[in-house]
């Protein structure tokens, strides 16, 4: 059996403790989505029956050991229906490899970073740990995870939506495997628009076919005025954020960065302000000044501030405001579509692309399992992970849980993603979204900028506050140099 010490790792001067301290500082929780029906499927890079005792999907490593071993998995808690699907997969694996015992640990989603920190610091962690693609740089720098491309076929990896694959890849190493995704775009309540006789956002399939940020702002203004004129003081044009901690400054990675980075342009000259705005951080990942506090970034957050100042959205946390029918529009994704389709929609709804700035920009973030670099059984662990991610098991999981697959062949096998505009748009967004800025100190960046964004939402001057937080982030990132 292959030992982890025999495998090429990731070179870094950073200690695990440094990286883990950063992880501990992050308390943000991402909202992950939705609901899918299972389908028959053709052979794909995620299906490889016959090569091993069981269909190990994209696994290409050596045959597994015959010695009795135990593999440990740590993941977030799911509802009983999804837990049952996962358990069935473990049972199937253990039936094929009776010498391999699987022990599963389930953790409340927001506590995953704490558990990872304790385990890795103590030098003994589960073989598979659920991570996130936006922390990939930290995993690589701290050498916390094994590069996965040595165990998985190139076709299998290529099958993952490019934005997610690239965000999980550091220096050519796939340090975590995106597991499910929730590309961010807009959901709107058609009943509210019909009632107010206002045109809703365009229902198109193209990720860049939607309104500009100015058009959205005008629409928010129209809706707000119409609502207030009708005596409705409780419904809002834009729902309070349901991501992370909710409300203003809820989750920069998944939501508020949209307002900023849409004002940038990755195709602009590399020394230009507009390019830096898109990047969010310097190429080496250690400097935020000149990137997060550009005039374009300040203009983006001035737009964001307007939605609060003008009363388009509440200034506090309102859980489930859109689902409760008390908002015309919300930032959302395939999760909302799948949930409404599965459980019955409380109102007529539609989906439209996110607001456009200089570019059509939106984010994509995914839960992403990692293989602990200290695992004594790297090949067996990779095989188990690949098995869980084979086509059949992914279909079963997405059917029960409702999230969107991260591999294109899986999505292509699900007809609703080709026929329902609300999901077609989701696939196009998934294909064209962007991962978060890459920095080993993304934890610190994320933790520092959320309060700044909240301050700006509640009235602080955007440029001044961005300058302050850029300096603060520079200081926080310096420890990783």
């Amino acid at each position: 059996m292959t030992k982890s010490s025999d495998l090429p790792g990731l070179k870094s001067s950073l200690s695990r403790r440094t990286v883990l301290r950063g992880i501990a500082a992050t308390a943000g929780v991402l909202a992950m989505p939705a609901i899918l029906p299972s389908r028959a499927f053709a052979a794909t890079p995620g299906s490889n029956p016959g090569k091993y005792k069981i269909d190990l999907g994209g696994y290409t490593g050596p045959e597994l050991t015959n010695a009795p071993i135990t593999l440990k998995i740590m993941r977030q808690e799911f509802p009983p229906e999804v837990n049952a699907v996962m358990q069935a997969q473990y049972d199937a694996f253990s039936a094929a490899y009776p010498n391999i015992t699987i022990q599963e640990e389930r953790v409340p989603y927001g506590d995953l970073p704490t558990k990872v920190q304790v385990y890795v610091t103590s030098g003994s962690a589960p073989d598979i740990m659920m991570g996130r693609n936006d922390f990939a740089s930290a995993y690589a720098a701290g050498q916390l995870t094994l590069p996965l491309q040595q165990f998985l076929s190139a076709d299998f990896i290529e099958d993952v939506y490019a934005p997610l694959r690239e965000s999980a890849t550091i220096d050519g190493n796939l340090v975590c495997l995106p597991w499910e995704t929730n590309p961010v775009y807009m959901a709107f309540n058609r009943d509210i628009y019909d009632k107010l006789k206002i045109t809703p956002p365009p229902e198109v399939g193209e990720f860049d076919g939607g309104w500009t940020v100015e058009q959205y702002m005008q629409n928010f203004d129209d809706v707000t005025k119409a609502l207030r004129a009708s005596g409705d003081t409780q419904t809002f044009a834009l729902a309070a954020s349901g991501y992370g901690n909710g409300g203003p400054g809820s989750n920069y990675t998944q939501l508020e960065s949209i307002w900023v980075r849409m004002m940038g342009d990755p195709k602009a000259a590399k020394d230009s302000s507009v390019y830096n705005t898109f990047m969010g951080v310097s190429e080496d990942g250690f400097t935020a000044s000149g990137y997060v506090n550009t005039p374009e970034a300040a203009a983006g957050l001035a737009n964001y501030q307007t939605v609060f100042k003008s009363g388009y959205t509440p200034t506090g946390v309102v859980p489930d405001q859109f689902r409760g029918g008390a908002a015309a529009v919300t930032f959302s994704g395939t999760g909302t579509v799948k949930r409404f389709l599965k459980t019955g929609q409380p109102f007529n709804f539609g989906m439209s692309p996110a607001p456009k700035g200089t570019i059509a920009y939106t984010t994509t973030v995914a839960d992403s399992p990692t293989i602990y670099s200290g695992t004594p059984y790297p090949a067996e662990t990779a095989a188990l992970l690949a098995f869980i991610c084979n086509d059949a098991n992914r279909f079963a999981f997405h059917d029960a849980w409702g999230s969107m697959p991260v591999r294109k062949t899986l999505v292509d096998a699900l007809p609703e993603y080709a026929s329902d505009q609300r999901l077609v748009l989701g696939t196009n967004v998934a294909d064209n979204a962007f991962g978060p800025p890459k920095s080993v100190g993304w934890f610190d960046y994320f933790s520092a900028i959320n309060p700044a964004v909240k301050d700006i939402a509640l009235g602080t001057d955007p440029q001044t506050r961005l300058n302050d937080v850029a300096t603060q982030i520079d200081g926080l990132l310096a420890k990783y140099k």
């Binding site: 389930r106 409340p108 558990k115 304790v118 409780q234 859980p319 489930d320 409760g324 909302t336 799948k338």
Partner: protein, 297 residues
Amino acid sequence: MASDTLSIADKIIAKPAPLTQIRRGTVFGAMGLLLVAVFFAFPIVWSALSSLKSTDDIVKFRYPLTWWTFFPPFPTLENYYALFFQLNFQRALLNTVIASAGQVIIAVVTSTLAGYAFARLRFPLRNALFGLLLVTAFIPLEVILVPLYEVVKGMGLVSTYPALFLPFACSPFGIYLMRQAFQSIPVELDDAARVDGASTLKIFWRIALPNVKPALATLVLIQFIWSWNAYLWPLVIIQDPSMQIAQVAIAGYKSVPNFPLDGPLFAGVTVVTIPLVAIAIILQRYYVRGLMSSGIR
């Protein structure tokens, strides 16, 4: 004499005024306390009422605020059914009960013995040791989390019941509380017993302990609340889902954003709150007396 009579009469006439003032003060005081009680009870009552709503109704009536935000429009017990028949919450609850019972028993044993020793026995470095013990009360769990995890793991106790309470067998607060309580007992009682031939252990058991019942009740209550509400340590040390405690299980219901379990979540919160409220009501008399007698106010 006349003036004396007048004086008494004056006093008699004057009496109702202060009584009225007292009554008025009592009424205002009671109203003030009632307001405070309502303020503190509100979240508990709200979560109990929300547990009687379906998850859909919780989402639907959460905003804007109406009466149905607080009261169930269509009361149902489906959340409790889901909690106990689908989510197997009773197992987590049992784990919490066992962990709390273990914590209370071990803390009572160690705190009374150590408290008595620090209060009554003379031995070298007694005060220094006591001071050192108190210092440990100021070290937060987060600081020692990793080393503590390594120690418990090294003992092979991960995912076991003893792992939940054994690391907290020594309670600095408990020892301090019991030391103060034992110190309030007259030394003469010990001396008299000693003259009658009683051993130290017998004096502790037959004389000292019966005299510190209020402090003991306080200790039980505090340890129970502390253990019942523990989160971080069980989260870290319990890796087997079937051994997890109720509070961590409830947090798991919260972390499924696109598959909301708000109904069972409120039901779980209500279920775990009941024992706390019950034991607080039962022991409240002793709790106050115990804190008073130990000098902790």
